[in-house]
Amino acid sequence: MKYLERRVIHAVLLLVGVSVLCFLFSDLAPGSFFDEMKLNPQISAETVAALRSQYGLDQPLPVRYGRWVKSAVRGDWGYSLAYHSPVRSLLLVRARNTLLLTALATLLAWLIAIPVGVWIASRSGKWEDRLTLAGTSVLLSVPELVVTLGLLYWVVRTHVLPAGGMISVGFDELGLWGKFRDLAAHLAIPVGVLVLAGLPVLLRHVRASMVEVLKSPFMQAARGHGIGRFRLLFRYALPAAANPLISLLGLSVAGLLSGSLLVEVIMGWPGLGPLLLEASVSRDIYVVVGAVMASTFFMILGSFLADVMLVVIDPRVRVE
């Protein structure tokens, strides 16, 4: 329990630190949200100044930070200058869309990586292993962007899947099954790209830690006792190889909000990616700060989850 308290306090301190840095850096960047208005001859300089003071942008940095903290504690997380709404409600909808995409992709990537990684580790050095490793090398070296554009090109030519967006026009009139199918069709390409991008790293890690464990004498001993192949791999070797994989799983969770920004922008997925891009370009700083804070939160959550799972899975950690 003590440990848990310490972790929570640590996490809060980290969030405060990140928010301070976030404010500092966004203040260092030149320009502000209303700068574009200054170029518009129809808007007078007085109006711009009035707007600035109305939103409190004319105040010094510590005052702005203090106001933001107040609003964050209230649960609004600041106010979006472009959308004229509290940041929280804006982020929640977008984060939900992003999570739908990334959680599905992460789950799929792990579901593929574990059995395939275990299998090629057991065939280490054979042609299946080398073929898979060569495949992961290719996937690793091709940028996500190229994969996405390639798939998009194929979709535009063949029209088998919708080329972007999250739902079709007339989504609301569809039945439950129709809605599900429509969403799945829109998900296919972005999820596919994310799986292809994440899979090689996972696969190589699973393989590497399994190969390491399979070489150890206690695995030889188990084979000598006549253990079955499936049981050896999944009941004996996989738990022994799990520690580095759990840390990797923590990283997967940490990347849930931030891992798909590029793909979302290209595919027109209404997630955090396009929102963050627009907000950064237009200096809608509270949205940027809010999105960064949400990513940080997931980062902390991911490493915390990994630590808890480590305690659950590895008895040695419990003893210590």
């Binding site: 004498p217 030889q220 188990a222 000598g224 006792h225 004996y236 738990p239 022994a240 008895p315």
Partner: protein
């Protein structure tokens, strides 16, 4: 029998070929202790792996109690495996660090199946007592034991299935002398009680000279000489055997001189 390892490089056509075992012909007398000696890398451990069917020889065969082990399919092997067991050199690596002592000792019984969890635990306790460990330690993990105690655990695991043939792959190396002597006595006791056949793989000639009944000498993948202990130590025929024995004597005399000076 022979065993060849081939390693291909992904970037060239060159192959690295290692002939680990070349026309090895070794007969192991039942219920005796046979020692296999030779320098590092001469193929002792490969031979051991082949004997307990962790590897298959490329040519030739292995016979055990009238069966040709190297030709057995999976089902026949499953029956034979409990009869052929091995104790490894590195006791820390040979025991799954996540298991408790009880789980480790009961592991072969569990793999072979057919026993309830409660029986497994009591059997594990009995086996631990048999190798001189307290059954109270059943819930400890390998890292909480000393090197000698871990080797006892490994032995308990190896005899759990009541094997007929036990390969001791450098099982006594890496232990201090008094622990070595204790483990050795344990092994000799178990040999009488269970009428076990041992193959002791070692580079420690003075140890082999004390306890082995038969000795085989390996050199670069070949068995160059085999015979009773008296034959090998009394009248070594092969040049390599003489080298081994001489180097052993040189070491001993150097040790004595150094000891005398200080």
């Amino acid at each position: 029998m022979s065993k060849r390892y081939v390693q291909r490089s992904p970037f060239s056509r060159k192959k690295f070929v290692i002939d680990a075992l070349i026309d090895v012909d070794l007969e192991i007398a039942p219920k005796c202790m046979t020692a296999l000696v030779g320098e590092s890398g001469c193929g002792k451990s490969t031979l051991a792996s082949c004997l307990v069917m962790l590897e298959r020889p490329d040519r030739g065969g292995i016979w055990f109690e009238g069966n040709e082990v190297s030709r057995c399919d999976a089902a026949e092997l499953a029956v034979l495996r409990p009869r052929l067991q091995m104790v490894f050199q590195d006791s820390a690596g040979a025991l799954n660090p996540r298991f408790t002592a009880g789980q480790i000792v009961a592991e072969p019984l569990e793999i072979q199946g057919g026993e309830s969890a409660k029986n497994l635990r009591s059997r594990a306790g009995e086996l631990m007592e048999e190798v001189g460990l307290s059954a109270d330690w059943i819930d400890r993990r390998p890292l909480e034991f000393s090197g000698g105690q871990r080797q006892r655990l490994a032995i308990a695991r190896a005899i759990a299935l009541k094997p007929a043939f036990l390969v001791l792959d450098e099982s006594l190396s890496g232990l201090d002398l008094s622990t070595q002597a204790q483990i050795l006595n344990l092994l000799l006791d178990l040999k009488t009680v269970h009428s076990l056949t041992y193959l002791l793989i070692s580079h420690d000639l003075s140890l082999v000279g004390q306890i082995a009944e038969f000795v085989a000498v390996m050199h670069q993948g070949r068995i160059v000489e085999q015979g009773t202990r008296q034959e090998i130590f009394g009248q070594p025929q092969h040049a390599h055997t003489r080298d081994l024995l001489n180097s052993c004597r040189v070491m001993e005399s150097a040790f004595h001189t150094a000891g005398g000076r200080s």
